[in-house]
Each structure stands twice: as structure tokens, then as C-alpha cells.
């Protein structure tokens, strides 16, 4: 078994930043780093980053992701390359085929991995458990490749400037049993939260949809834009356009003030690169405090009332 196979993450013709992060992650392990690009026309994606030793282009007969196709493609690559580790991103597409490959080939497996190391021959991965409140180091079955889905933003993106050359790899691909029909854009809301300098973000802690106007008002007074975490969108209280998180928007404001947000993994993924994160939560172990720059263990309504007074 040799080296690490990284599967490039792309969506609708755009290479995702996550691919660079996967390359960095791969560098924590031993052996050469191979980046596989599975796409209709792999050559449009430039993945020759620093740290990439080899590039494999696997062309498909189709534009969009279909999980049966990608599964067969990856299985063929694994059979051909026999890598020690296969790295995918922890993305919706990869959730659709990564675990299937691991089950089919009886690989080692873990997802939402945010730490990687190698000890001798063994890969050690770190991921969180119990709602992000504790971490754990995992070991994997010996003599088998391990397939990992890596958490976005857990690793720094690899820089340009590598000089790997690309080879082509063709595989006979099946017809998919789950077929893409068309895309529907997320409804654009009244406000684009990705352009705001200051986001006031609220979560389940506000309790009731009746509380939303109060926070809209507070946001106004503070000069912030109101954003929310997923549960408020699930409940129908706010539109998806206001959602910060993996299935909503990724934001990077100057200030992200989170009130009553616990910090579920997919939410953190959407805001953890904000310049300044201030979190208020009554639970001192809330995962949001792991990414916050400033934290206060307090009742969000009390703090909100005081903020209102100061404005």
C-alpha cells in the first residue's frame, strides 16, 4: 500500500478550496500524495498544488455527480493504486458514496476527521464525539486502506506551485440508479449575509419564533445583520438565505456574535473563519466556545437586553 489518494472536491464546475485542504491533510501521512479528479472534463481543474506528487484524471461521460458512478470510479482507483489512505471531503456528495466504498471494500473508515497523523505504518485520525464536546484518536485495521471524510477548514489550504504531472485513467462506468435531473438554486432572500461585516446570529436558544423580531431590532440597533443557525430554518421561522452553516451560507464577517448557538459541526463549518467570534451560551461546554475568540457563559436574553440598552 502506498501513499494517499485524495479525491478532488468540486461542484458545478468550480474546484472547492477543500481540495487544497485535503492535500495538506495528506501531507500528515506518509508516502506520495495523488490527487484524483473525477469529472466530465478533469483537465479544467488545476490541482497541481505544493505537496501533490501525482495527478490522475478520470473522465466521466456526465457533468453532474451521481453516486453510483463516483463509487465505481473510486473503487477502480483504489484497486489500481492500493493507497494507504483515501481522503474525501466531508461533503454532501462524498456522504453519498464514500461510506459505500468503505462498506463494499471493508476499509477502515471515519468521517468528519479534523486531525491526522501517522505512527509508523499506522494512520491515526482525530475526530469529535458526543456532539463535538469531546475528541478521540482512532486507529484502523492493519493491512487495509482507510477511507476518511475530512472536515472542511480543519486543515490549511495547500498553496500553488507544485509540479505534478497528470495521467489519465479510464474505467467503465455503470448507469446510475440515482440520476441527477436538475438543480434548484437556494432562494435568494432579502439580504445577503455573506457580505455583512457584522453578523448577529441566533440559534435554538431564542426559544420561540416570537423572539425573532426582538433580535431583528437588536441587530438593527447594533448595525448588524441577523443570521440564524439551521434549526430556525427547519422550523420555518427564517428563510434559508439567512442560514449560516454547511447547508446555508459560509460567512467570514469581521465580527460574528453568536447568541444561543451551541456550535453543531455543520454550523461551525459555515462561520469559523470569521475574524472575530463572540459567543454567548449558558452551556460552558458548547462546541461554539472551541472556535470563539471571546466567550460568555450567560443567558442570551439578559445579554441582549443589556446590549439593547447600550445602543
Amino acid at each position: 500500500m502506498n501513499g494517499t489518494l485524495v479525491v478532488a472536491e468540486h461542484l458545478r464546475g468550480e474546484l472547492r478550496e477543500l481540495t487544497r485542504e485535503l492535500v495538506t491533510a495528506a501531507q500528515q501521512l506518509s508516502g506520495p500524495v495523488t490527487v484524483a479528479v473525477i469529472a466530465r472534463d478533469p483537465s479544467v481543474f488545476d490541482v497541481s498544488f505544493q505537496g501533490v506528487d501525482e495527478i490522475v484524471n478520470l473522465p466521466l461521460g456526465q457533468e453532474e455527480f451521481e453516486n453510483d458512478v463516483y463509487q465505481t470510479a473510486l473503487e477502480a482507483l483504489i484497486a489500481d493504486r492500493q493507497p494507504q489512505a483515501v481522503l474525501l471531503g466531508f461533503t454532501v456528495n462524498s456522504m453519498g458514496y464514500g461510506p459505500a466504498v468503505a462498506a463494499k471494500l471493508a476499509l477502515g473508515f471515519a468521517s468528519d476527521v479534523h486531525g491526522l497523523a501517522v505512527e509508523g505504518e499506522a494512520v491515526i485520525a482525530t475526530r469529535s464525539f458526543y456532539g463535538g464536546k469531546v475528541d478521540a484518536e482512532l486507529e484502523f485495521p492493519a493491512e487495509r486502506p482507510v477511507l476518511l471524510l475530512v472536515r472542511p477548514t480543519a486543515f490549511a489550504p495547500a498553496a500553488d506551485g507544485g509540479n505534478a504531472s497528470a495521467t489519465e485513467f479510464t474505467v467503465e462506468l455503470p448507469s446510475a440508479r440515482a440520476r441527477h435531473l436538475e438543480f434548484e438554486e437556494a432562494a435568494t432572500g432579502d439580504v445577503d449575509i455573506t457580505t455583512a461585516d457584522f453578523l448577529l446570529s441566533v440559534g435554538r436558544g431564542i426559544g420561540d419564533k416570537e423572539a425573532i423580531p426582538q433580535f431583528e431590532q437588536l441587530a438593527d440597533k447594533l448595525g448588524a445583520v441577523l443570521s440564524v443557525s439551521r434549526p430556525l430554518v427547519d422550523a420555518g421561522w427564517m428563510p434559508n438565505a439567512r442560514q449560516v452553516g454547511q447547508s446555508g451560507k459560509t460567512v467570514k464577517p469581521k465580527v460574528y456574535l453568536a447568541l444561543g448557538i451551541s456550535g453543531a459541526v455543520q454550523h461551525l463549518a459555515g462561520m469559523k473563519t470569521s475574524e472575530t467570534i463572540i459567543a454567548v451560551n449558558t452551556d460552558p461546554e458548547a462546541a461554539i466556545f472551541n472556535v470563539a475568540h471571546f466567550g460568555a457563559v450567560a443567558d442570551l436574553f439578559d445579554v441582549a437586553a443589556e446590549l439593547e440598552k447600550l445602543s
Binding site: 426559544g207 420561540d208 419564533k209 416570537e210 422550523a235 443567558d299 437586553a305
Partner: protein, 654 residues
């Protein structure tokens, strides 16, 4: 000429015969009407239970004859009704005597007593009571027509502005007065009784007699084998006969409407309108209107939830019992609302916030959704250990309650109470993680199954402990542990801290050293006051520590609910407009007394609601909240540190 009443003076024979014919018809119509009413009541669910009939009848007789319930909070109206009642009764008796004389005594027995002194006395008596009747009617006409107090206005909070505000009732009221005389003259007064407002003459005493003393305080259980359409009330046929009688007993006096905190704060609920809506359904589905095909007719099997009783009306209720307390005819609005809530819960029709809270309570045993282990976290601030009563016996089992355990402001009170108890040398312990929400509000929300579940868990935990009394400072827990755990055959002596601390003071175990010079007002919590009649002990305790108590206009049984009860604190806001919340109105009421230092409460939900209301009503700085224990602690004047935590300037001085 001998003074006597010359009946039928100047009427010819056929006219007299016609008169008796009218009386006979009138009586027949009356009998038919009453029979129809009884048949309507019999459509109600279940057997008509009338236990201890003599006690009930005696109590009803006293209540009705002394007007003890009617005259409450409006002695003028009470006097007016007294005059009408006795005027009518005496005139009726007088007519019966005359009839007896004319139709039986004289012709059959040859006994003519209706003359001379008897007649003069009788005549005077009847004149006096006739005048009384007219005076009474005049008082009522003044009330409805000129004074128009809030309770008599037919404006409905549960309908939109432009919907029919019961114009027909208004017309009916005045018509009744006018027609009253006409009917009396024509002898059809008797006939009209079952068909008009006058039906209350029959239904109201019946309602008073059949009233359940524990109405609303101890709710009826749901049989374990009940099917979904047997849980709670969903159609008019689900109502027991007793309640159908109560619906007819309502005289639209509006006292419940005036007392209700929801009605007075812009919520879509008026207890009066709820009862009247149900009455209209009963009439249109089962009653006289149904028989006579007078619109609007209703299908008795149709659901009443939605039309006419809207879910938001039912969910607006704080289950504070102000309506049941004041109703002069004993209507039980609170359990009726509760039964309809049960049906909504059975169908899963509740707002998402409430659903979440109930799921939380099931999962964690508390309404805050906090980890079980966190329940006793408040004890860490104390500089002594609190006994774990699961492991060691203690004299007092202190059942702390959710808000007292988990809410930061209330934790301060709980910690203070722990210090007071320790100082008094009380041997107490708590259940730590084994305590569950006592279930009072869960039951009032209508989730009877979850209530049973919580009860089982609490009983299991408590039964394993050795103790003599159960203490709590949470009136909701106090009420439900004391009154609603009976199904489990437990024989607990449950005491509220206001009572217990008073005992300690009386025993000398607590010695208030420093009489507090505060001018205070005291808010009676609903579950302590109206539900359990505990009004005096907190006041005695406040007197014992030297405070000057100034009563608010609405106190004791007329206390105005903070708005958190009945599970409302777990639900979406239902207020339709910007009227001040019940808690804000209450603070206004206290501040209006002038120069009040402290608003004193002894319930954790009151602490939460009123701390908030003091801020939002704009009176912050004018009045401060104190819980009873906090004042007691202050009066002990011990130089010991108080609880950590910032109270923003309201520092307790040691």
C-alpha cells in the same frame, strides 16, 4: 267591604275560563321545556353523579338563599339580585297562596282565609316585595344600561373587531326586561322560563348544587383504556350532564370576564365567551333551538375544536382559577378548558415550542432540557453539604422544583432558603438527580400521560426515602404533591415554605432580629392562594419580620395571575395586541399604591415573571422584587456572606 283580593274582578266567565286555559297551556309549555332541557342534559357523557346529596342541597340552599356567591365583588348588583330574587319568590308564593285559596281552599274545603288581617298583611308584604322586585330590576337596568362596567360589555377578545359582538344577547337582555312584564300579565311567564335567560332560575341552583369543590384543583384522570376519541372533550356529546347544566346556568354576569388575566391583556380568551359559545353549540345541537329548528343548528357529533372554540383560545388560559373562584353559579371553566386541551394534545395539535418542552420534560425530567445531573448544581454555592435524602433519612424532604433548581435568579432564592433552614437547625435533604418535574403544569396543559409518568417516577423516588414532611417553595409542586398524587396511595404531609418558616418563627427556631422597615405589597400566587387557600401564613410571616404590608386592590382570592401558569410560560405568545402583559399590569397596580419598596412573591415563576415585568413596565428603580425567603434572611441579620452572582445592584446586605 271586606279587604280581600278580588280575583278576576270584572271578567266574565268565559274570560276566566280562558285565563285558566292560558295558565294550563303555559304550565304545559313550561313542563315540555324543562323536559327538553333534562333530555338535553341526559345526552351528556357518563352517569349524572350527585354524591352526598343532602350536603350538596344544604350547601346550595345556603348559597342561593344568602346570595353569598352573587354579592362578591359587586355588592350593589348583589343587592339588586337579592331584591329581584326575593321579590319574585314572594310574588310567586303569593300567587300560589291566592290560587290555593281560590281554587282549592274555598271551593273544596270551604275555607276562606284570604281576607281582613291576613289579606292586609299579605297585601302589604306583596307590595313591599313587588316594589323590591322593581327596584332590583331598576338596579340591573342601571348596571347594564348606564354604568356599563367592563364585565357587562359584550366585546369579545376571541373574535376579530368586526365580528358580531353578541348583538343578539344585548337585544335579548332588554327584550327580556320589557317582555317580562308582558309575559307576567299574560300568564306566560312560567312558560317562558326554559326558553329565555330566566332558565338560570332552574339551572343556576342546579349548578351550585352539583359543583365539584375540587374543580380545577384536582383534575379527573383519564382511564387507562380510553380510546383517542374518549380523551378529553372534542364534541358537545363529550360533556357530562353536569357541565351541560352549567352552560345553561351562566347569566352573562361577566365576573369571570373581568377577573380573567388573559381577557385583560389582549389574549383571545374570555371565560364567559367560551361558556356562551359552548352553550350555543349545546342548544343548536341538542337543545330547544335544535328541537324548534332555530338557526344556527349544529351537528352534535361535529368537533367543537376549531369552530367555535379556537385552539388559541384554549391555549391562552393560564389555569389561574380566577373565573371558577368568582362565578356566582359555580361554573367550572378551568377543567372544561383542560379537557379540551387534552383532546388537542391527543391529536398532537399544539405549538412547536410547547411540543419541544413536553418532549424535553419526557427526555430529561425537567422543563429546561438540562442534563439530569445539573439539577442540584445550585448546592455548590453553599458552604455546607446538602443531605442526599436518597441515602440518609431526614426530617424534611425538600422537593425543590424545576425553576427553583435551574433558573439562575431562582437559584439565589433556593440557596438562601437552604441557609435559612440550616440556620434554624432543620434536618433536611433533597432528592438530587432523582427529582422530576412534579407535573402540575404538564397536567394543566393536558398531557395527562406525561403527568402520570412524572408522578410514577417521583413517587418511586420519594417512597424510597425516610422523612416526615415534604417541603417546597414552589406552589405548583406544593399543590400537585399535596392534592394530585392521591392515586398512588401516598400519605404525605406537604408544606409550603411560607407555612414552614412561620412555624419556625413561632417555635423560636428562627428569630427575626431586625424588623425590616419596608413598605411592601404581597402577591398571592394562584396555586398557593386560590388553589389551596393559603393566604394568611405568608402575611403573618411578613408581619413577624416587621414589614408594613399594603394590599393591592386585587389580593387574596382576587389576586391577578402573573401569566406563567397553565403551561403558558412554555408556549408561544398569543397576545394579539400591545396591551401590557398580566405581570406588567400587576406591577403597575403595585406601584400605584405609592411608596412601595418591595413587591413580595413566594413562587419561582412569579420571581421570573415579575423581575422581567419590573424592567419592561418601565418601573425599574421604583420598586424591587423580593422573594419571601430573602426578606426572612435579611431579618435574621446574620453577618454571613450571601450567594455569589451579580444581582445588578440589588445587593443583599448581610
Amino acid at each position: 267591604m271586606t279587604p280581600t283580593r278580588s280575583t278576576f274582578a270584572g271578567l266574565s266567565t268565559w274570560e276566566i275560563v280562558f285565563w285558566y286555559f292560558l295558565i294550563a297551556v303555559s304550565t304545559a309549555v313550561f313542563v315540555w321545556g324543562v323536559a327538553r332541557l333534562v333530555l338535553k342534559y341526559r345526552r351528556g357523557r357518563g352517569p349524572f353523579s350527585f354524591d352526598r346529596p343532602l350536603t350538596r342541597l344544604r350547601r346550595a340552599a345556603i348559597v342561593v338563599l344568602t346570595h353569598s356567591w352573587i354579592k362578591r365583588r359587586d355588592p350593589v348588583a348583589g343587592a339588586g339580585h337579592f331584591l329581584i330574587f326575593y321579590g319574585f319568590l314572594v310574588l310567586f308564593a303569593g300567587t300560589v297562596i291566592l290560587g290555593f285559596q281560590d281554587d282549592f281552599a274555598k271551593p273544596v274545603l270551604g275555607w276562606d282565609f284570604f281576607r281582613n288581617e291576613f289579606y292586609k298583611g299579605y297585601s302589604l308584604f306583596l307590595d313591599v316585595f313587588g316594589a323590591a322586585l322593581i327596584a332590583g330590576l331598576a338596579i340591573m337596568a342601571y348596571k347594564r344600561g348606564i354604568q356599563k362596567p367592563f364585565r357587562l360589555r359584550y366585546w369579545r377578545p376571541d373574535r376579530a373587531e368586526n365580528e358580531d359582538g353578541r348583538r343578539l344577547y344585548v337585544i335579548g337582555d332588554w327584550a327580556f326586561l320589557g317582555i317580562l312584564f308582558f309575559l307576567a300579565l299574560t300568564g306566560f311567564l312560567l312558560a317562558s322560563i326554559p326558553f329565555t335567560k330566566a332558565v338560570h332560575m332552574l339551572a343556576s341552583p342546579a349548578s351550585v348544587a352539583s359543583r365539584d369543590e375540587q374543580a380545577g384543583k384536582e383534575l379527573a384522570p383519564i382511564p387507562a383504556d380510553a380510546k383517542p376519541d374518549e380523551v378529553g372533550y372534542g364534541t358537545i356529546l363529550d360533556f357530562p350532564a353536569r357541565y351541560l347544566v352549567q352552560l345553561d346556568a351562566c347569566t352573562k354576569c361577566g365576573k369571570c370576564h373581568a377577573a380573567c388575566p388573559a381577557t385583560n391583556s389582549g389574549y383571545p380568551l374570555s371565560p364567559r365567551d367560551l361558556i356562551l359559545d359552548l352553550r350555543e353549540v349545546a342548544e343548536g345541537a341538542l337543545g330547544l333551538r335544535h328541537e324548534l329548528h332555530v338557526e344556527p343548528l349544529r351537528d352534535p357529533h361535529a368537533s367543537i375544536l376549531g369552530d367555535p372554540i379556537r385552539p388559541e383560545t384554549l391555549w391562552s388560559c393560564m389555569q389561574c382559577m380566577a373565573c371558577v373562584e368568582i362565578c356566582p353559579v359555580g361554573i367550572e371553566h378551568v377543567p372544561i378548558i383542560n379537557q379540551m386541551r387534552r383532546r388537542l394534545v391527543e391529536r398532537g395539535e399544539m405549538d412547536a415550542t410547547l411540543q419541544q418542552t413536553l418532549e424535553s420534560i419526557y427526555e430529561t425530567g425537567n422543563s429546561f432540557g438540562e442534563a439530569r445531573r445539573k439539577r442540584a448544581r445550585w448546592t455548590r454555592e453553599l458552604d455546607f453539604d446538602v443531605k442526599d435524602i436518597r441515602k440518609e433519612p431526614a426530617e424534611v424532604l425538600w422537593f425543590v422544583g424545576d425553576y427553583a433548581s435551574f433558573d439562575p435568579r431562582n437559584q439565589l432564592v433556593t440557596q438562601t432558603l437552604a441557609r435559612v433552614l440550616r440556620h434554624a437547625g432543620v434536618d433536611f435533604g433533597i432528592l438530587y438527580d432523582a427529582e422530576r418535574n412534579a407535573g402540575c403544569d404538564v397536567r394543566r396543559v393536558g398531557e395527562e400521560g406525561l403527568f402520570n409518568h412524572l408522578r410514577e417516577e417521583n413517587v418511586a423516588a420519594i417512597s424510597n426515602c425516610t422523612f416526615e414532611r415534604i417541603l417546597t417553595w414552589d406552589p405548583h409542586s406544593f399543590h400537585t404533591l399535596r392534592n394530585e398524587y392521591g392515586a398512588f396511595d401516598v400519605d404525605w404531609d406537604v408544606v409550603h415554605h411560607s407555612q414552614f418558616l412561620l412555624e419556625l418563627v413561632a417555635d423560636g427556631r428562627l428569630s427575626p432580629k431586625k424588623p425590616l422597615d419596608y413598605r411592601i405589597t404581597y402577591h398571592d400566587p394562584c396555586t398557593l392562594g386560590r388553589y389551596n387557600g393559603v393566604y394568611d401564613e405568608p402575611r403573618q410571616l411578613l408581619a413577624a419580620i416587621g414589614t408594613e404590608l399594603v394590599e393591592m386592590p386585587r389580593s387574596r382570592d382576587n389576586s391577578f395571575c402573573c401569566g406563567a401558569g397553565g403551561g403558558r410560560i412554555w408556549m408561544t405568545e398569543l397576545k394579539r395586541d400591545d396591551s401590557p402583559r398580566p405581570s406588567e399590569q400587576r406591577i403597575d397596580e403595585a406601584v400605584a399604591l405609592g411608596g412601595i419598596d418591595h413587591f413580595v412573591v413566594c413562587c419561582p415563576k412569579d420571581v421570573t415573571m415579575y423581575e422581567d415585568a419590573i424592567k419592561t413596565s418601565g418601573h425599574q428603580g421604583e420598586i424591587e422584587l423580593r422573594e419571601l425567603t430573602e426578606l426572612v434572611w435579611e431579618s435574621l441579620d446574620l453577618s454571613l456572606p450571601v450567594a455569589a452572582g451579580d444581582r445588578g445592584g440589588e445587593e443583599e446586605h448581610a
